[in-house]
């Protein structure tokens, strides 16, 4: 009876700790623009941007284990869709964001369906998605009448206008709150998916494809649903990018570099975990800021070398990412404690 109560209060304590931590973090991030200044706001904004895109990628690749190396495809489609609708037809980027999301979702579902139906998996899936992104890049360079080619699209600032997703460089904090909100939304979606039947199915697919099939899981359907959600959200990130930076071109949207930027925070933080993208984004953005200050501009490429090193070392020692190794250690401690209690 007493043992039961002990374990019970232990679990309550644990949950209360988690909730308190989340609330504290939330407060910190909400109050940040007020007390942090413009530069810090911009930095943390970029961090949440990375975390948002990473979380979107996480919902597909992190959960089911099929690595997409070409998520830049959907990022760019989102950016182009909302921007073309804005520049040509004056449609609000908020609506453009949803339209871009739908296009991307359809594209993503199509790519996922064709690949997974025809057994394009593992390395080949990664390469296929990479090829798609590259194809998009070349197409946007070629179809000049639609996309303005290599010049890219420039979104002129026409004054502050909420409906038109335009706030100007002096009001960065508004963009900050928007991306914070988007990240929270994305994480809620990720959480809902994870703690659902779909989430368990995706974990099963990641765990073992054949075994999952033999437990009644329609692997194709699960994966394309996850892909649709993931690509919709990624495209929303593209629209945000367009509105915040107000200029983009094919190389910046569809490059392999962009795809890597999307997935690296998640790999570092831990794929398949909701906290993974944020942890990874915090670490990477922190590193980025330090190096930006310390490393002179002629040492271009050095930070990336460090990223590569981190990736190699991680894969050899903690392939699951930071969050996974923390979880493993915590659950090991718990198990040992339980075993000791049971007098083993």
């Amino acid at each position: 009876m007493t043992k039961g109560k002990e374990l019970f209060s232990h679990r309550i304590n644990n949950n209360i700790c988690k909730v308190v931590l989340l609330i504290v973090l939330l407060l910190v991030f909400i109050l940040l623009p007020r007390f942090g200044g413009n530069f810090l706001t911009h930095v943390v904004l970029e961090m949440f941007f990375l975390a948002f895109l990473g979380q979107a990628w996480n919902i597909f690749s992190g959960y089911c284990g099929e690595l997409s190396f070409g998520h830049a495809t959907f990022f760019g489609v989102g950016a182009y869709t909302s921007s073309i609708l804005l520049m040509r037809y004056g449609i609000s980027p908020w609506i453009g964001m949803l339209v871009g999301g739908c296009f991307s979702a359809l594209l993503g579902i199509g790519i996922a369906y064709i690949s997974l139906r025809y057994n394009v998996k593992g390395v080949f899936f990664a390469l296929a998605t990479l090829a798609c992104a590259e194809l998009m890049r070349l197409l946007s360079l070629t179809l000049k009448s639609l996309t303005n080619g290599a010049e890219g699209i420039l979104i002129p600032f026409k004054g502050e206008n909420f409906a038109m997703f335009s706030f100007g460089v002096n009001k960065k904090y508004i963009y900050y709150y928007i991306i914070l909100g988007m990240f929270i939304l994305c994480s809620l979606v990720a959480y809902k998916v994870k703690k659902s039947r779909l989430g368990y199915h995706l974990s099963a697919i990641k765990g073992n494809y054949d075994a999952a099939k033999m437990l009644g899981i329609n692997t194709l359907k699960c994966q394309i649903i996850a892909m649709g959600i993931s690509t919709f959200l990624t495209a929303m990130g593209g629209t945000f990018y367009a509105q915040y930076y107000q200029h983009f071109e094919p190389d910046v949207l569809f490059s392999a570099n962009r795809s890597f930027e999307i997935i690296f925070p998640v790999i570092l933080g831990g794929g398949g975990y909701i906290a993974g993208p944020l942890v990874g984004a915090i670490i990477l953005q922190g590193f980025e800021i330090i190096t930006r200050e310390l490393i002179p501009s002629f040492m271009y490429g050095v930070p990336k070398i460090v990223y590569g090193l981190i990736l190699v070392i991680m894969m050899m020692f903690i392939p699951g990412g930071v969050v996974s190794s923390v979880y493993k250690r915590v659950s090991n401690i718990r198990l040992k404690r339980k075993e000791a209690q049971e007098g083993r």
Binding site: Y200, A204, G207, N208, A211, I217, S331
Partner: protein, 237 residues
């Protein structure tokens, strides 16, 4: 009528005939064992039955319905479960979650699935393992969890592919106990096995396969004294 009928199944891979005119009936409620030398085509048979590969000839009838051209998950939904020769546990989930995935086939909410999973673990005496991560288990423990997981999916017929492989004699006894419990739940079993003590002990009916063909069948007693079977295992003298 038998629960599962393998009807004149043939499977060729290019020039190699892995299965040849196989006819097997699996009676409901009974344990049918499949034995045969290595490479006889036993796992191929399972792959054909469960939809991982399609036969070149013949048909598989389950519960009166043909399983031809169905995908594995559709076959699973019709009440067929399977474990694998190389145990396929979900290393990224803990034991309860592993079994929950099985339970989720019929129970669509997580809380219910968790309860069902805990029930199954308790039924098979595996509750002590519940919080262990799949990849932290020994092979023997993994096999047991795989069994629990398959059972949680409420199969009418469960196909076990060398479930006792690599087990110590003690573990084999424990395993036979699990099998009896599963049978007590009304699940029909079709088991491929090499460990003679295990298969001969629990089977009601045995089918012997060699080179993809059925060479004998009958009760364990009949089969162990069958000349063709002895020749297949020990070779001509």
């Amino acid at each position: 009528m038998a629960l599962l009928t393998v009807n004149n199944i043939g499977k060729s891979f290019g020039g190699l005939k892995a299965l040849d005119s196989l006819n097997i009936d699996v009676e409901e409620g009974k344990i049918t064992g499949i034995i045969g030398p290595n490479g006889a085509g036993k796992t191929t048979l399972f792959n054909v039955i469960t939809g991982f590969t399609q036969p070149t000839e013949g048909d598989v009838i389950f519960n009166g319905e043909s399983l031809l051209n169905l995908k594995p998950h559709e076959i699973s939904k019709r009440g067929l479960g399977r474990t694998f020769q190389i145990v396929k546990i979900f290393g990224n989930l803990n034991v309860v979650e592993n079994v929950m995935v099985g339970a989720l086939q019929y129970i669509h909410n997580l809380a219910g699935a968790r309860d069902e999973a805990m029930n199954i673990l308790e039924y098979l005496n595996l509750t002590r393992l519940k919080d262990y991560s799949g990849d932290a288990l020994t092979v023997s423990a993994r096999k047991q969890v795989e069994l629990a997981r398959a059972l949680a999916a409420r199969p009418k017929l469960l196909l076990l592919d060398e479930p006792a492989g690599g087990m110590t004699p003690n573990e084999v006894d424990g395993f036979l106990e699990q099998i009896r419990k599963i049978k007590a739940r009304g699940v029909t079993l079709l088991v491929i096995e090499h460990v003679m003590k295990a298969i001969m002990g629990i089977s009601d009916h045995i089918v012997v396969i060699n080179y993809g063909r059925k060479i004998a069948e009958g009760t364990p007693q009949e089969v162990s004294t069958n000349k063709a079977v002895i020749r297949a295992y020990l070779g001509d003298d």
